[in-house]
Structures are given as C-alpha cells and as structure tokens.
C-alpha cells in the first residue's frame, strides 16, 4: 500500500513589485495537508478544477517533487527519505502525444526506457513482448512512433509506464485529446491494469464520466485541500442534490401561471417553466418524486414526456466545489 500522510507543498516565488525594481518573496500553498491511501488493484480518482493541486500531488507521489512536509510511505518504506524506492515502484503516464521518442520504433522506445530502469536484457525482452501484446501493438512494434495514430501513441505510453513493472501507476489525464472510441478503448486498458495486473492506479481527469466509470474511490481537491472523498455513489449522496424532473406538455396545453400554481404552492421556487411555457423543470428530493407525479395526475396535465434524471457525479463535484469556495470566502470575511 502507498500511504500519503498530511502532504504539504509550498512554492516560493519572487514577484516584481509594481513600479519598483525590487522583488518580493511570495509563498503559495499548492497542496495543503493531503492524506490518501493507494491500494493495489484499485483505481483512485483525483479530481478538481484546474490549479486545484492534482498535478503537484502526483509529482510528489512520483518523487519528482520533494514535499515541504508530510510523509510518503510506500510498502512500509519512507519515500521522502528514499526517493529511489519510489522510482522503483511507480511510474507515470501523462496525456497528450509526447513523452515518447517519435523517431524511434515502439520497441526501441521500450528498450531505451527499460535500460534506464536497469532491467536485465533478457528480462526486458520478455517484458517488452508482454507489454506490446497487452496494448495491442505487437504487429507495429518496428514502426516509427511518428507514424502511429494518437490512440496507438497513447497505448505505447501505457506500455512505457509499465516498463519497470510498477506497483503504482499515475495516469495524468490519459485520455486528453482522444476521440470517443479511442478514449473508451483506453478506459478498457486502464480497468484491465487494475483488475488483471493488480496495479494501484491514481487517475486525474477532467472527464467526470470517465472517473465515474473507472474509479473505486475519489478524492475531490480544491485549492490544494481535499474537500470531499468517497466512492462515486457516496459522493453523490453527500452533496444532497435533488432528482431533476422535466415534464413536456403537448402543444394543446401549456404551463400557464394558473396551471402551475398548485406546484409553486407545494415546491416553491424549485419550479421553473421554460421553452414558451411547454416545459416544466423541478428539482426534488428523491422521496418527493412520487408526490410530484401524483400532483401531475390530479391536476390532469396532458404531458408528452416525463424525464427523471438522478444527480450526476459531475453536478455533484461542481456543487461541492461551489460550496467549498463559498465556505472559503465566508471564512476570509
């Protein structure tokens, strides 16, 4: 297990004062007291808006950056004191098409990175062949990477990330810029790594549906702090968002003031009428849904369709981030 305890990262910068040649020292708290557990065979999501501190956290977890304070315990070893122990056990795959040598073939790339990890030649040969077959690039292993499609490059990146057989793999926006079908293919590989290869994965992504589909546990970060955590289901529950009901009428009737009056009486300003009085939207607690449907019937409203949508993880994350920002502003006041 990879335990992260009270991780803090401060950046010290020198900023030029306005109308002065002097520079002022500033300190920015990029990561503030983050703790998490990364277990083998599980996919952990690290979500948050841009600048939330996700990439800084991943850089510390992979030994690229030294934390200002906090502990990194990797398989019982102090990773802050022994960054080489982290390097042996982790690797990182970033999104985009770079991080590979385009003038070299897939096999040459993997041989090179394998050598940098001091993997014995025979072992390396076997591993490369396994990895190429895992990511489905065996047939094109001798083709220069610049001739690969985006999806193939990204698959090769995964193979590169696995070259040192890491126990923990960090995936920083692995599907960035990929089209829908390739992104879906990538998700299949990611799931395979956790389930079949028992790797502990940490995923950062801006595609929330991707996180919802893949992650066993999610940490939501805002301004360097974990503001919420749990399984995707637990997170949705914790935000207490309502179920959204959308009712569309046929063209004969419309949601006039008179028609919606009983609804406003019962549900107040939760009721919104849109689209030239043809659509009614209401956000309710799940337990009130049947009441609402009953009211529709008793009011004899001729509807064309009813759409009941459960809260999504995306809406939940936006809501939780908003709540946290408001709380932060209140504390500052």
């Amino acid at each position: 297990m990879y335990e992260v305890i009270s991780l803090v990262k401060e950046y010290h910068n020198q900023v030029k004062k306005s109308r002065s040649l002097l520079k002022e020292k500033t300190t920015k708290l990029a990561v503030n007291n983050i703790s998490m557990d990364i277990r083998e065979g599980k996919i952990i999501g690290l979500l948050g808006i841009n600048g939330a501190g996700k990439t800084t956290t991943i850089k510390m977890l992979s030994s690229l950056l030294k934390p200002t304070s906090g502990e990194l315990i990797i398989d019982g070893i102090d990773g802050v004191e022994n960054p080489f122990e982290i390097k042996k056990r982790v690797n990182m795959v970033a999104g985009g098409e770079r991080a590979l040598y385009w003038k070299m073939t897939a096999k040459e790339n993997l041989v090179y990175f394998g050598t940098l990890y001091n993997i014995p030649k025979k072992e390396l040969e076997i591993r490369i062949s396994e990895l190429l077959s895992l990511v489905g690039l065996e047939e094109v292993k001798d083709l220069e990477v610049e001739k690969y499609s985006k999806g193939m490059k990204q698959r090769l990146q995964i193979a590169r990330g696995l070259i040192n057989n890491p126990k923990y793999l960090f995936l920083d926006e692995p599907t960035l810029g990929l089209d829908v079908s390739i992104a879906r293919e990538m998700r299949t590989y990611v799931r395979k790594l956790a389930v079949e290869k028992q790797k502990g994965l940490v995923l950062t992504t801006h595609y929330i549906t991707e996180a919802e589909e893949l992650c066993d546990y999610i940490y939501l970060i805002n301004e360097g702090t974990i503001i919420s955590q749990g399984t995707p289901h637990e997170l949705i529950q914790s935000a207490r968002l309502g179920t959204e009901i959308i009712v569309r009428t046929n063209r004969k009737t419309s949601f006039t003031e008179e028609v919606i009056y009983p609804f406003i009486l019962k549900y107040g300003n939760q009721v919104i009428v849109m689209d030239n009085l043809l659509e009614l939207r209401v956000s309710l607690k799940r337990s009130n849904v049947s009441d609402f449907l009953g009211l529709l019937i008793t009011q004899k409203i001729e509807y064309e369709s009813i759409n009941i949508a459960e809260p999504t993880l995306e809406a939940t994350l936006i809501e939780l981030t908003k709540q946290n920002s408001i709380k932060g502003e209140d504390n500052n006041e």
Partner: protein, 274 residues
C-alpha cells in the same frame, strides 16, 4: 556493488549512444555532417585568404614570438579541428536536456533512477563517434593548403586527447544545465560559439587579446585544449603539465557546477511545467 554500478552505467551510456545515433540518422542523415564540414572549410578558407591575400604570406614578428611558429595554416587547422569538435560536443551535450524538454520526455527521464552523468556520456559518445570521419576529411582538406599533421610523441598526444575529451564533456555538462536553467538553446548556443571563436585562439593567438579578455579566455577550457593540441601536433614539444593539471581542475569545476545547477534547474522545471 561498484561493478554493478559500472555495468548499469555502461548500459545506459551505450543505449543513449544508440538512441541518439538512430534518431539523428533518421532525422537528418547528412545535413549535420555537411554543415559542420562547411563550417570547418569556411574557417580554413577565410584564414587562407587573410594569410595569402592580405598578409602576403608573411607573419609579423609578434605572431611568431607569441605562437613560436611560422606555419600559420597548420596553426589554423589544429585550432579549427579542436574548435569544431568543441562546439559540436559542447552544444550536443548542452542541448540534450532541452531536447528532452521539447520532445516531452524530460519528466519520464527524471522519473527513472538512471545516472544523469551516464546519460550525458552517452550523448557525448555519439558525438565523438560522429566526429571521427569529420576529422579525417578535415585532415585531407588541410592537405589542399599544404598542411600535414605528424604525431611525434604518441603518449603526449594520447594524454592531450584524453584531457581534451574530459574538458569538453565537463563544459558540456555545465552548458546542459545552464541551458535548462535559462530554458533556452538558441541564444545561449550562438553566444557560446561566438565567444569560443573570438576568444579561444582558433585563428590568432590569445596573446593578442587584452589582458582581462585573456583571463576570460583561459577560463574557457577550449583555449587550453587547443594549446595542448598545438604543443603536440604543431610545436612537437612535450605537453605542459602545469597547463594539463589546470585544465583538469577547470573541468572538475565546470562539471560540479553543472551538477549543482541541475538540482536547481530540475526543481524549477518540475515545479513550472507538466
């Protein structure tokens, strides 16, 4: 343990050598080679024109006093060969990290436990191998100007080549980290090439430079490397051990300053970029 470290370092050196060789071969099979030959030819031809047409093949007493030679074209050829090799190797090693940054592979490289020195040695080795045919062509080219280089003392020649290689690598390591620190290759490499050409005694003796500029010139390892090579190949005298030791000390200084700079520039880079 030591042999394990040695073995892994050699593996990294050889694999990096191979990688650079393959990449350059595929990216620009001839252009690098030809452009450096042209630069070498240009320096020789320019010096020849100055020597024949402007100086009318006569050297001033001051030149002869300072350089202890009347063989100007050999003087220039040795200077040009060392200059071209120095610039090529310093810039090749120097641009290595920034090349990785541009390819987007720098962070992947930093993630590995591989020795940075072994990596840079691999880049340097590729440069040395690539340079060997260029020296042979330069020597043939020198023949056109009536220049023949003869090695009288093989041991001194060997020592001066080893010290030259060491000095250029150390300066290259320093440059690699400087370029990473400044996040620039273009301005830095052009400035360094110009400074080396003007200050290090390629086609005229350093003794002609003002005193303060001469001090700066001797702080650049290329100057002493050229001096040593000229002692062996032109003056046919024993190498100056004082100069040799000074050059070795200078090389260590550049190497360790480079390593120290790397820690700062690595952190700066990782903090700023993804």
């Amino acid at each position: 343990m030591l042999s394990f470290i040695g073995e892994t370092m050699i593996e990294i050196i050889l694999e990096t050598f191979k990688r650079y060789f393959i990449t350059k071969q595929r990216a620009y099979p001839w252009s690098f080679f030809v452009s450096r030959l042209i630069r070498m030819a240009y320096t020789m031809i320019f010096s020849y024109i100055v020597y024949c047409l402007m100086a009318n093949r006569s050297l001033t007493n001051a030149f002869v006093d300072v350089t202890s030679t009347t063989n100007y074209m050999t003087y220039v050829l040795v200077g040009t060969i060392v200059f071209t090799f120095s610039v090529a190797s310093i810039l090749s090693v120097g641009r290595a990290y920034m090349g990785e940054v541009r390819e987007g592979t720098f962070l992947s490289l930093l993630l590995t436990p591989a020795s940075r020195t072994a990596y840079l040695l691999g880049v340097y080795l590729e440069q040395i191998v690539r340079y060997i045919p260029e020296i042979l062509i330069a020597l043939l080219f020198g023949k056109l100007f009536g220049v023949t280089i003869v090695i009288h003392n093989l041991l001194d020649f060997f020592i001066s080549v080893v010290v030259l290689l060491m000095a250029m690598f150390a300066f290259g390591v320093f440059m690699a980290n400087l370029m990473l620190f400044l996040r620039d290759t273009f301005i830095t490499q052009n400035t360094v090439t110009t400074i080396i050409y003007l200050l290090c005694g390629i086609s005229f003796p350093v003794g002609f430079l003002p005193y303060l500029v001469r001090i700066i010139s001797y702080c650049i390892p290329v100057t002493l490397s050229i001096d040593l090579m000229r002692d062996v190949l032109l003056h046919h005298v024993s190498i100056d051990y004082g100069k040799t030791i000074f050059l070795i000390i200078l090389s260590f200084l550049y190497y360790f300053t480079g390593i120290f700079l790397f820690k700062i520039s690595e952190r700066k880079h990782v903090e700023s970029f993804g």
